[in-house]
Amino acid sequence: MIHARKQTMAALVALGALLALTSLMVGRVWIPFHAWGDPSDPLWPIVLELRLPRTLLAVVVGAALGMAGAAMQGFTRNPLADPGTLGVSSMAALGAVGTLYFGAGAQASWVIAVCAMAGALIAVLALMGLAGAASSAVTFILAGVILQTVAGAGVALALSLAPDPWAVTEIVDWLMGSLTDRSLGEFSLAAPLVAAGLALLLSTGRSLDALTLGEDGARSLGVDMGALRWTLAAGVALTAGASVAVTGVIGFVGLIVPHLLRPLVGAQPSRLLLPSALGGAVLVLAADILVRLTPGGSEVKLGVAMTVLGGPFFFALLISMRRRIA
């Protein structure tokens, strides 16, 4: 079997570039090329202050979620794992929501990012702890269910204690991720954190490959499982946590992308990491363009759109896995 990894990555880069350009043009106001380079054009602020941050964030968040999903699937040896399905994004959102209750001073964006990443880190460590030494695919999924429940309860509590309607809106915004009305400030906050996270996750490739042979098999090949756990936890916390902090919960990216790319680049976990980042950026860019084109008064939230898309995909994946096992 020959995998076209290089060609796939080249195609994803080209597609991503094309979508990024489209993303700068498309929206309630159509902005043609000639308006881009001309600061005197009245459409210029829309490109610079609305479309550009939105496009850059789509790339950063998509890459973060795509690679986090691929890495988590490699670690758990389970194609259903992703920051969304295992509750990491929900716990990050809970961390972000928590800042609403620390007082007005805690609403600085870096505080929100730190709290979201802390929530994500706690989630990954809890997943590993709950799954324990006998970490099978099933125990990870069950641990994810527990985390989702805990995060859901926490958010429900935050909603019921919300001091004012403004806080309620804020909380709901985090639960339904979106890229609207973001600024370059949010991009420059998230980008370095995500970049660091991506670097950490990329460094786990060889160890994730060895885990194909199970934990004992990997350890017998010299893989330090303790170091791998911490690197992966930090990488997922940085990527998924920083993403949630700036855009809220956008699910299923890390689930869909590695699954679609596996037949093209091979199932070896290390070979899937970088293509999944590229594929994640492409998917989020495309989805964000689509939500802008929805007819009607208000835009569909990106997180909701991804869930509508991802839910049936999740079902189909489960059914195909069931058939393979049976």
Partner: protein, 261 residues
């Protein structure tokens, strides 16, 4: 070259799993570790592979404590085949065998020399024709060969295999047993396997260690170490041992009478 367990003791959940195990293993030999379920065979193997740290005692590799060796260095000397025989992803057999090179490769990935070693390992395990197959589609016998090739790709001096013959039909069991003998006798590796099949152990092993309740009951050549008395004490069975064409034949008559032996 030597690999030796010295006074290994290990308790798991308050229960002693290894209760003072001493065994000096010899290269160029197949050593079979036998014993009833829960006797501590797998735990002993995991300790010898450096995957489990005993509460007391230790393992020495060429006289030096195994625990003092870095994980990568240890992985180059000792190959280990876990009982689970897990192959999580649908990857080609050649890529799976390539995982055996993990303790050697740096940032640049597999070299041409690594690729040659992988081909040699596939050939040595009789799996050359499987190189391009997807591992999750292999039969049990095929997968066993590929996994043995994976261990050989690391060019270890010692090969420790936890129940490598379980789940194979008699023909493939014999093939795998012959392969282990070849690795020991022709290539001078130290091969240690845990087994449940007594006659197969008697046939393939140069030396057997019979364990029960975390201790070694009997240690020696199969014809001496597998006596009816030892089998009665270890397994609680009544067995007759006869000389066969290919080593001792063990016929299990039935459960040993309680309080007997």
């Amino acid at each position: 070259m030597s690999l030796a367990a010295e006074g290994l003791r290990l308790r798991l959940g308050g229960k002693p799993v290894l209760d003072g195990v001493d065994a000096a293993l010899v290269p160029g030999q197949v050593t079979a570790v036998l014993g009833p379920n829960g006797a501590g065979k797998s735990t002993l193997l995991a300790c010898l592979a450096g995957l489990r740290r005993p509460d007391a005692g230790g393992v020495r590799l060429d006289g030096a404590p195994l625990a003092s060796l870095a994980a990568r260095a240890r992985a180059r000397r000792i190959g280990y085949l876990p009982q689970s025989a897990e192959t999580a992803w649908p990857i080609e057999a050649r890529i799976l065998v390539g995982l055996g090179r993990t303790p050697y490769i740096g940032a640049r990935g597999l070299s041409a020399e690594d690729a040659r070693t992988i081909d040699e390992a596939l050939a040595a395990a009789g799996a050359a024709d499987l190189a391009d197959r997807i591992v999750t589609t292999l039969s049990g016998g095929e997968r066993a060969r590929v996994l043995i090739a994976r261990a050989l790709a690391g060019q270890p001096d010692w090969l420790l295999a936890d129940e490598p013959l379980t789940g194979l039909d008699p023909g493939h069991q014999l093939d795998a047993a012959d392969l282990f003998r070849k690795l020991a006798h022709e290539q001078g590796r130290g091969v240690v396997v845990t087994l449940h099949d007594l006659s197969l152990a008697a046939r393939m092993a140069d030396r057997v260690l019979v364990m029960a309740q975390g201790r070694i009951l009997s240690d020696g050549a199969p014809a001496q170490a597998l006596s009816p008395e030892v089998l009665a004490r270890a397994y609680g069975i009544e067995a007759q041992v006869r000389a066969g064409a290919a080593g001792p034949l063990i016929e299990v008559v039935g459960r040993a009478p309680p309080g007997g032996a």
